[in-house]
Symmetry: C2
Subunit: 138 residues, 2 copies
DNA sequence: ACATCATCGTTGCATCCGCAACGACATTGA
DNA sequence: TCAATGTCGTTGCGGATGCAACGATGATGT
């Protein structure tokens, strides 16, 4: 029996992830031209409030160098600000500006709507599907 | 209700895909230091026999420039050869060498074994999970 | 036949990613 | 106290990616 790439689970997973990310990026491109790392940093800060680069690195599956550069770009655009941490001056505190909070509020709506579409596309299996994803990543 | 990145389906999908690809790459790294595009080109040629860059581009979800460069690297390593197409000289025919075929045979075993592990990890939902992936990519 | 337009594969270029330094600071242990 | 070690965020650098040319070749329409 020959090996068929098209039936290979890691391949299918990668293709699906790329396609879904591409579709979502097309949605928020009009609202804000964010890269995926920038989107993840923004979304995490919107939920967590102030956080250090290290905190974000640990939570959103990105290298610290990528988080660092994404944060600098978001700072340049006025979406977040950096400040010193009291007590540990190695740390840098990142938090959203008002503009950043407003942007996140708009993107959260887009994201929820998009996710609703995906779940509709998945039908009744959606919940099991998401549980399976967590099992694979763990 | 606040937006939580960790529950966002495109994020979970991306994390799972990255993690699974990383695990699989670790398996075949010992056998052959292939990039993901190289692996896909090799796998497709193993299944399809001779094919043009364009054929592969259409089948394995990669840009034509990436397929072109991956093919050149595989050629340098003696895994595939390029030849002219009779009748349409724009096309380049790619096919595996004997070494390439032998390499693919070894990697196919690794791949099947790895996939079996993943399906075991997914349990009874494995089949529905793969069907859902196809639905998302389509 | 010939001009026009489409297609194929390659390459240049700007950008992004991943890893390994690095400087600054904190913690540890004697 | 102070040297050794660990941690934080940034940056340099090599390599990969994505897009837009480009030259070469085919197809089309008159």
């Amino acid at each position: 029996m020959p090996f068929v790439l098209d039936e290979f689970l890691p391949y299918r997973l990668s293709v699906a992830a790329t396609e879904v990310s591409r579709r979502f990026a097309a949605r928020y491109a009009a609202e804000a031209g964010l890269s995926i790392p920038e989107w993840r940093v923004l979304a995490h800060l919107g939920h967590s409030g102030a956080a250090s680069v290290r905190d974000i690195t640990a939570k959103v599956s990105l290298e610290k160098s990528i988080v660092s550069r994404a944060a600098s770009r978001l700072e340049d655009r006025g979406i977040l600000r950096k400040s010193a941490h009291d007590g540990d001056r190695r740390l840098i505190v990142l938090e959203l500006t008002e503009d950043g909070t407003a942007l996140m509020a708009r993107l959260a709506e887009l994201a929820e709507a998009f996710q609703a579409e995906l779940r509709h596309q998945l039908g009744a299996d959606a919940h099991r599907f998401e549980a399976a994803l967590k099992r694979l990543a763990g």
